[in-house]
């Protein structure tokens, strides 16, 4: 039922994106909405699994300290229990969450701006004109490095926008493309 809802939502979302999209640009190269590589889901899942293990380890340390000092009362058990339960449930639902996040994530390197879209329940679309871009970074944690993925971070003066988990070679190409479009962007102030 969820998959059917996802498929329906995806078509709705595509329709929604088309409403707000500009259409292809003149060079037709990178002006279309694109999704992330398939192995991004696996990378996200592994990242979340590691976070869950760390969270449970912290809970274990807290329990050990409390028990050793005789502080293991009702409220401590409740708080630690809730925290651990949240971490475990979060991990249990991670495959669904990852599939959801991956399905509804899109980015587009347009003629005048960079756009990203994410989410279905809370649909968010961000547009950054190139003449606002200050610099472009990449980042890669060990999990992403194992899967040969890189995150591209576009910085403006006030905030930053991420294109998560591209192929490393593709990420370099995207950085070069964005940098080139930033350099040629007109400052219509």
């Amino acid at each position: 039922m969820y998959s059917a809802a996802v498929e329906t939502a995806r078509s709705d979302t595509v329709g929604h994106m088309n409403e707000l999209g500009e259409g292809s640009g003149t060079d037709g190269c990178d002006d279309n909405w694109r999704s992330l590589p398939g192995r991004t889901r696996t990378a996200w899942l592994v990242n979340e699994a590691i976070s869950c293990v760390i969270a449970l380890a912290v809970c274990g340390v807290v329990v050990a300290v409390c028990v050793a000092n005789g502080w293991w009362g009702f409220w401590q058990r409740l708080i630690v229990g809730l925290f651990a339960a949240y971490a475990v449930l979060d991990l249990a639902f991670q495959p669904l969450q990852t599939k959801y996040a991956y399905t509804f994530y899109r980015f587009r390197i347009g003629e005048r701006d960079l756009r990203t879209r994410r989410g279905w329940l809370l649909r968010k679309s961000t547009a950054v004109p190139y003449n606002r871009v200050q610099h472009v970074d990449t980042k890669q944690n060990p999990v992403l490095r194992h899967f040969n993925l890189t995150t591209v971070v576009v910085h403006t003066a006030a905030d930053e926008v991420e294109i998560e988990a591209l192929d490393t070679a593709e990420a370099e190409r995207v950085v070069a493309l964005i940098t080139e479009r930033v350099a040629s962007a007109k400052d219509n102030l």
């Binding site: 679309s125 950054v128 403006t156 350099a183």
Partner: protein, 572 residues
């Protein structure tokens, strides 16, 4: 002026190898500041020692430790003062300080963004000021000179104007397309390197500085009545209550227990007399806090004046410590006219400027001057004063018939208030149920009123937002496209937008420019999307005050208009 106060002496050593020391008064000031910084810690430690050593005498080791700590505290400002030097070089201000960790800093005259001075009452007879020279971006690129002749500020202003005029002439005679030096990037880059920061005027058209707007009188002067009105209608005095409460708590720990018990008993006896006594006590507390607020405001804002001098706004204020802050107009990212709930019935408002530099440390006073460029002013005159102060911004009143505000929240009230009402009811039910199950006692059964009260406040704020949120894209004059900054003071800056809204129960009207908006984020949900209802947020490069244009709910057509205004500007 004192021995160091003549322009000739300020200029001596300029453009030559003449490193100068700070005035000896700076040493005294640094020592006093150092003592003030550690006095509370010192007293707390004394109290702790008194309790620990009760009945015993302190060993010589403890005394040695105390003496060493005091000596170290006093030695730091002495070393700093003795090692600090500054020099007016050929094209830059140079500064060095430190004995073990040496700091060298150079700010080119053309890169100076602001020069602020403060003149405490004890420095005034000597003609000495504390000077802060700011470059673009973060405050850790500033140069602060603790005690220098007052004439040095004038000299630096002259050198800065000379450098900028020279750069403007150079820019006017070349045909290089401006990219890095364009005002949006120059204003937007939070550079930490003062040497490479381009001057904001680099891409300005060539004009001699005396052709720019000058005023022989301040464009605004706050009277004592204005400052008192500001203090009385500023809700900050309520925040002072928490500070006083914290102070009283600390005092209780230090005073003898008998005194504390006697004081508490006296208050308790007075309160026990009845409701009228409680009301009187609260009234007295409010009056005391208000008096404190008025006195503090007078100390801070007495003689408040705003001058327009060329491309700078100069703010002068302060009773005992006279502070002069220079704000380059090019640093201004937004103009915000605010009207709090207390000020609305009196038709009063306040005006603040959004700047592109962070406000901390030495630039805090500059930030305060900018945040309250007009502390309090009548709504009938505010736009006339702003037009005189910042003609290039051409500030428009939201009710202006030529450019009516398009209210984005019209017809969307239910979207604004649904969440706070539902959350308040759920929270009240949860608290009420929890209290009934866990706590016994009649008074605690009324605890559910707390989430209801918070929910009511939240609902009121949201309802106000629905009435006030809106925008007006202000028209550009055709020839204003020629340059990004208006060359003629009568031509407004291009690509301005007027945005209205509310923060809490305070309404605001903000004027900013497209170049200050960094991106746009639109969001919606599956149940709002078919009705074409969205949220929009547009972050601004503003380091103080309102840092984004936010529309809590708006129709898709409005979101498209704003998106297009930012990302698809009309071709020239």
């Amino acid at each position: 002026m004192g021995a160091f106060g003549t322009p000739a002496e300020a200029r001596s050593g300029a453009h030559a190898d003449g490193w100068r020391m700070l005035h000896p008064l700076g040493l005294l000031v640094a020592l006093v500041q150092s003592i003030r910084a550690i006095i509370s810690t010192f007293i707390s430690l004394l109290v702790v020692f008194r309790l620990l050593m009760e009945g015993r005498s302190m060993s010589w080791g403890t005394w040695a430790l105390i003496v060493a700590a005091v000596a170290l505290t006093l030695a730091q400002p002495i070393i700093r003062w003795a090692s600090t030097r500054y020099r007016l070089g050929v094209d830059s201000l140079q500064f060095r300080s430190g004995l073990f960790f040496r700091k060298n800093r150079t700010i080119g005259y053309g890169s100076i963004h602001a020069i602020s001075s403060s003149s405490p009452v004890y420095m005034q007879p000597f003609g000495i000021v504390q000077l802060t020279v700011s470059a673009a971006g973060a405050t850790d690129t500033d140069i602060t000179l603790d005690a220098v002749p007052a004439a040095l500020q004038l000299e630096l202003e002259r050198l800065r104007a000379q450098a900028r005029t020279g750069e403007a002439i150079t820019a006017g005679t070349t045909s290089t397309a401006v990219t890095q030096g364009s005002p949006s990037i120059a204003a937007a880059v939070p550079s930490t390197s003062s040497l490479v920061t381009p001057s904001p005027s680099q891409s300005s058209p060539v004009l001699p500085s005396d052709a720019r707007p000058e005023s022989n009188a301040p464009v605004f002067r706050a009277s004592v009545r204005d400052i008192t009105l500001f203090a009385v209608t500023d809700l900050g005095f309520i925040a002072a209550a928490f500070v006083v409460f914290g102070f009283v708590q600390n005092l209780q720990d230090m005073l003898p227990r008998d005194w504390v018990r006697t004081a508490e008993r006296s208050v308790g006896d007075y309160v026990a007399r009845g409701v009228i006594s409680i009301v009187m006590l609260v009234l007295v507390c409010v009056i005391v806090l208000m008096v404190v607020s008025v006195v503090t405001s007078l100390l801070r804002f007495y003689g408040f004046e705003v001058w327009r001098r060329g491309d700078d706004l100069v703010v002068v204020r302060g009773l005992f410590t006279r502070r002069t802050t220079t704000i380059p107009v090019s640093r201004i990212q937004s103009i915000v006219v605010r009207q709090s709930l207390l000020r609305r019935p009196f038709h009063l408002c306040s005006v603040g400027l959004g700047l592109s530099s962070s406000v901390s440390g030495e630039s805090e006073e500059s930030g305060i001057s900018a945040a309250r460029i007009l502390p309090v002013i009548g709504t009938s005159r505010v736009y006339d004063v702003l037009a005189a102060m910042l003609p290039e911004w051409d500030p428009r009143e939201p009710g202006d018939a030529t450019e009516p505000i398009h209210r984005t929240g019209r017809g969307l009230l239910r979207y604004y208030v649904t969440t706070p009402i539902v959350v308040a009811l759920v929270a009240a039910a949860a608290v009420g149920t929890g209290v009934m199950v866990t706590i016994s006692g009649a008074p605690s059964r009324w605890l559910f009123i707390v989430p209801l009260a918070i929910g009511a406040y939240w609902t009121a704020c949201r309802a106000l937002k629905s009435r006030t949120e809106g925008y007006a894209i202000l028209p550009d004059r055709p020839d204003a496209f020629c340059s990004s900054d208006s060359s003629d003071s009568s031509e407004p800056l291009p690509h301005r937008i007027l945005v209205t809204g509310a923060k809490g129960l305070t309404t605001f009207a903000m004027t900013t420019r497209r170049s200050r908006v960094q991106s746009i984020t639109r969001s919606t949900t599956p149940w709002r999307e078919p009705r074409g209802i969205e949220k929009a947020e547009m972050p601004l490069f503003v380091m103080n005050g309102i840092s984004a244009l936010r529309f809590t709910f708006l129709h898709r057509s409005d979101a498209e208009t704003l998106d297009a205004w930012l990302t698809r500007p009309a071709a020239r």
